[in-house]
């Protein structure tokens, strides 16, 4: 397969994965694997920032401890760390000659057999969410074409992650809405039951449920549910002051 067709196949594959409910980790793993196949690199990884700004490895083309440790180290120092904090690409770093810039990272990377490292920002407009990290076992520069492809991969991953986050937030909200509708129905049903059994109007029935919840430090919805399913007998409800004759 030519490089162009591998590239095209990868982009199609990535686009295909961006459907509803895609698994973001699967997508990032695929991306890390394809980086190694398409680009002249021997290992690739994707690091994302947590809400408090700590970098965490999300996907790696290699699961060997030595490679994973390289990512972990970069929570403190290394090309990924610098790239994330500056928002700028950190490329073609000759690890034999970084001269104490990243003492711990450089030693570990050389020990794992890598001689050059690259990090490309995952950035959309103003915000940087992480970095794509590439390692080569040889020294020497990555060509501009390879760097462009790598940045394109980083961009695709960024869009995928942001899209995924937005969808997830909307889904949580949608679940809250349907949950609230169900809760309200349960409350109304419980009001009806209490009204019938204790011969109260709806307002007093509601006051009775609410004061029982308060007196026993329970959520109103849980009290209502217990009334409905019979686990709390209406005779066992505390009468509210308003409900007393």
């Amino acid at each position: 397969m030519t490089r162009e067709s591998m590239l095209a196949r990868t982009l199609v594959e990535l686009a295909d994965s961006l459907v509803d409910d895609f698994d973001v980790v699967d997508l990032l793993m695929l991306l890390a694997d394809r980086c190694v196949e398409v680009l002249d690199v021997q290992a690739a990884g994707i690091m994302l920032a947590t809400p408090d700004g700590q970098l965490r490895v999300m996907a790696s083309s290699s699961e060997t401890m030595r490679v994973l440790e390289l990512f972990e180290t970069q929570a403190q120092e290394g090309p990924c760390f610098d790239c994330y904090h500056t928002g700028q690409a950190v490329v073609n770093q000759d690890l034999d000659a970084v001269n104490g810039r990243w003492p711990r990272f450089a030693a570990e990377a050389l020990g794992a057999g890598f001689h050059s490292a690259h990090a490309l920002p995952m950035r959309l407009r103003g915000s940087v969410i992480g970095a794509l990290n590439l390692f080569r076992d040889g020294v020497g520069q990555m060509g501009p074409a390879d760097l462009e492809v790598a940045q394109a991969f980083a961009d695709v991953a960024t869009i995928a992650i942001l899209q995924h986050r937005a969808t997830r937030e909307a889904q949580i909200l949608a679940q809250q809405l349907t949950g609230a509708l169900n809760s309200r129905v349960i409350l109304e049903q419980a009001k009806g039951m209490v009204a019938e059994r204790l011969d109260l109007d709806m307002e007093r029935s509601f006051a009775t449920l609410r004061s029982h919840a308060r007196n026993h430090n329970l959520r109103l919805i849980d009290v209502a549910q217990s009334v409905i399913d019979g686990s709390l007998a209406t005779s066992g409800l505390d009468a509210s002051p308003a409900a007393k004759p």
Binding site: D20, D21, T167, R168, A170, Q171, L173, A174, Q175, Q176, L177, T178, G179, A180, L181, N182, S183, R184, V185, E188, Q189, A190, K191, G192, M193, V194, A195, E196, R197, M202, R219, I221, I228, T234
Partner: protein, 252 residues
């Protein structure tokens, strides 16, 4: 793609740009205007059943939403369950009869073509957008696409309204023009207590009674809550012709 985006922006501009703030009533009207149909309504569903109408543009769409709420069948309900648009271009003379209880009253009210589009956010279904025309005929391709876009816009708009509601509550903005028919659930609770059945069985009893007597479910529920109607006295036969025991539904 640009065409779709421009259309979306134009729609949102109409929703938000007219001053007076965004309301569900305006959302419904824009759904009808953009898709070029006679009227529109938005039904929220949860736990697989209609929970209430958020908005309607006119009495015909209000009647249609009420029928679907009362009967648990119709284009909205099907669109929600089937997860894709449900189109009936000729409600009075359909190719294959469906919605046996819904169709007659909906045609009588003035609906001749009805279309349901699911409201969906990711994997979560919220309800359906209900469109109708006062004459038979299919939606054009453009209308169909516009309706899909509007269903999407409507789902997002509902979430925007719900975004700041406290836990376990429905946002005030959503409830302000909505008809969630809480009286029906109060009545279900009362009937459940009267004849010692579950609340879902009680709702079936209420629905059956309303249908059997040709009355709106809400009216029947109001009678129960006002204690003008009970289900536990033993004179008269069951009006429902449904459900299990069938021995004690009756008015007083």
């Amino acid at each position: 793609m640009t065409g779709g985006q421009e259309r979306r922006l134009a729609i949102l501009g109409r929703l938000l740009g007219q001053g007076g703030g965004f309301t569900t009533a305006r959302l419904c009207q824009v759904c009808a205007d953009v898709t070029g149909v006679t009227g529109a309504g938005i039904m929220l569903m949860a736990g697989d059943v209609p929970r209430g109408s958020v908005c309607t543009t006119d009495t015909v769409s209000a009647v249609m939403e009420q029928l679907q709420y009362d009967l648990g069948e119709g284009p909205c309900v099907d669109a929600y369950h089937q997860d894709h648009p449900v189109l009936e271009p000729d409600l009075a003379e359909p190719d294959a009869p469906r919605w046996l209880a819904f169709t007659g009253p909906a045609v009588d009210a003035g609906a001749r073509a009805v279309f349901g589009f699911p409201l969906q956010v990711g994997a979560v279904r919220l309800g359906a957008l209900n469109l109708y025309n006062d004459r038979p005929g299919n939606l054009s391709d453009d209308q169909y696409i516009d309706a899909l876009v509007m269903a999407d816009v409507a789902a997002q708009a509902l979430l925007l309204l719900q975004a700041h509601a406290p836990p376990d509550t429905v946002a005030v903005e959503l409830e302000s023009n909505a008809n969630f028919q809480y009286v029906v659930h109060q009545a279900s609770g009362m009937v459940a207590a009267q004849i010692d059945i579950t609340v879902s069985q009680a709702l079936i009893r209420l629905r059956a009674y309303a249908f059997g007597n040709g009355r709106p479910l809400t009216d029947v529920a109001r009678d129960v809550v006002a204690r003008r109607l009970r289900f536990d006295a033993d004179s008269g036969e069951d009006d429902s012709g449904e459900d299990d025991s069938g021995e004690d539904d009756q008015t007083r």
